[in-house]
């Protein structure tokens, strides 16, 4: 391989951290709570082994290495999108009504962003690097979009988010936000992407995300919360019209006051 000593050390450190996170996840039996995220951690470790083997066998500048690297990137980003969907599901699905309301929005958002990314990628298809950056950015926007929308629902309805989920979500969101910004900077022009501070942020964003995941899994996971006891199906239908009517009247009155 043609990596410098610093690059080799960084790569080794990243791979070791990935192994530590996976070990912690298995030890904490995270698979029972977030199976897709646990699979994602397995893929990260496998990815390092596959990339290392490819680089060793064919060289870092070979076509094979190029395709293997980007295929693995595509797999990882796609699974990250499924992971954030899984996180939203874990947070919202105990509240059946809210989950039924939220899920179509999440799917619609993902479909729109992916469609947008596909169109943009086709437009820049004549240039492989630009197409890859556009596609990757589209997938990362999907990740961050699903995450923020799901968390907004949690916030709006006042759902508690468990500590380990907070840190896992932060890691995923932070890494995706940095990747989106980086791809945008690269597309506009390499100037800002060459800033030393930005280079540090970009290169370490995934390591920072993994530190967040170590924090998430360092302590044993809390006991599972029992599913919330829901109201009878017709209570909402009985209460909602009354509340709506009153809130409407209240607003009308308030409008009359200040107008």
């Amino acid at each position: 391989m043609d990596l410098s000593l610093v690059e080799s050390v960084r790569w080794t450190a990243t791979a070791l951290t990935e192994v530590v996170v996976l070990a912690l996840a298995l030890r904490r039996k995270l698979f029972d709570r977030l199976p897709v995220f646990t699979i994602y951690l397995c893929i990260l470790v496998a990815n390092e082994a596959i990339i290392w083997l490819t680089y060793s066998l064919t060289g870092i500048t070979s076509h094979t290495s190029f395709y293997v690297y980007w295929t693995m990137q595509a797999i990882q980003v796609s699974i990250r999108a499924i992971v954030v969907y899984e996180i939203c599901q874990v947070l919202l699905s105990p509240y059946q009504g809210v989950w039924k309301l939220c899920r179509p929005f999440l799917i619609l958002l993902a479909a729109l962003v992916v469609a947008g990314a596909t169109i943009s990628t086709r437009q820049s298809a004549y240039h492989a690097a630009a197409a890859i950056l556009t596609a990757e950015r589209g997938l990362e926007i999907t990740v961050i979009g699903i995450l923020i929308l799901g968390l907004m629902f949690c916030r709006y309805y006042g759902f508690q988010i468990e500590r380990y989920v907070v840190w896992i979500a932060l890691g995923l969101g932070f890494n995706s936000a940095v990747q989106v910004a980086n791809n945008t900077f690269l597309k506009v022009g390499p100037t800002i992407a060459d800033f030393p501070l930005w280079q540090i942020i970009r290169q370490t964003s995934f390591d920072i995300a993994m530190i967040f995941w170590v924090v998430a899994l360092w302590k044993p996971l809390p006991a599972r919360q029992p599913a919330p006891v829901l109201l009878a199906a017709d209570e909402y239908d009985r209460l909602a019209p009354q509340m709506t009517l009153r809130l409407r009247e209240l607003n009308t009155r308030l409008l009359e006051i200040w107008k």
């Binding site: 009504g97 961050i144 759902f159 829901l230 209460l239 009155r253 308030l254 006051i257």
Partner: protein
């Protein structure tokens, strides 16, 4: 320009994410029937309206205008405005409690309607905007006591209805809900 916008968006996304994950919720989380204490989420400030009504009486206003020295009348008006401002703020808190209750009901319902939820969200936005404008009007000294009375009656009426409804729910599931509504 694009770089500037991209940087701003990046920072906004990060701040939003941190706020969503770590920001303290303005509403106390009461999302289980076991933890639902109705007295904590029903409006309370609107119940003080009789005292406020006394403060707003026209006789007092006329008396102060005719008999009190100018500087005393001014001081009295300023004090009255301060109390009204506090009361208006209390009404806003009441509305927030009702809004919270609506969300708790929605969260604990197995089926909710998109249109209904959207309407509540929109009404809340409208209310907060109207509240700001009303507060501004009060600050400018152009607030009518009758309007405030009407507003209070509305919240009090809604409170009463909700108390009755929640008491009914509690009757159906007495072990799951703590309430002192109705004794």
């Amino acid at each position: 320009m694009t770089i500037f916008v991209a940087t701003l968006v990046f920072l906004a996304v990060l701040i939003t994410l941190l706020w969503l994950l770590f920001g303290s919720s303005t509403n106390e989380a009461v999302l289980s029937l076991d933890a639902l204490q109705i007295e904590k989420i029903l409006p309370v400030n609107c119940r003080h309206f009789p005292q406020i009504s006394q403060l707003l009486s026209q006789e007092d206003t006329q008396f102060m205008r005719k008999r009190a020295p100018h500087h005393v009348a001014n001081k009295w008006r300023a004090e009255r405005r301060r109390i009204l401002k506090q009361y208006l703020n209390g009404l806003r808190q009441d509305f927030a409690r009702l809004e919270r209750l609506a969300r708790v009901i929605a969260a604990l319902s197995p089926e909710i309607r998109k249109r209904q939820e959207w309407e509540w969200f929109w009404l809340a936005l409208q209310f907060h905007f109207s509240y700001r404008m009303a507060a501004l009007k009060l600050a400018l000294g152009r607030f009518s006591p009758e309007a405030l009375a009407g507003l209070t009656e509305m919240i009090a009426g809604l409170t009463s209805e909700l108390e009755n409804r929640m008491a009914l729910i509690a009757e159906h599931s007495p072990s799951r809900m703590r309430t002192d509504v109705g004794g």
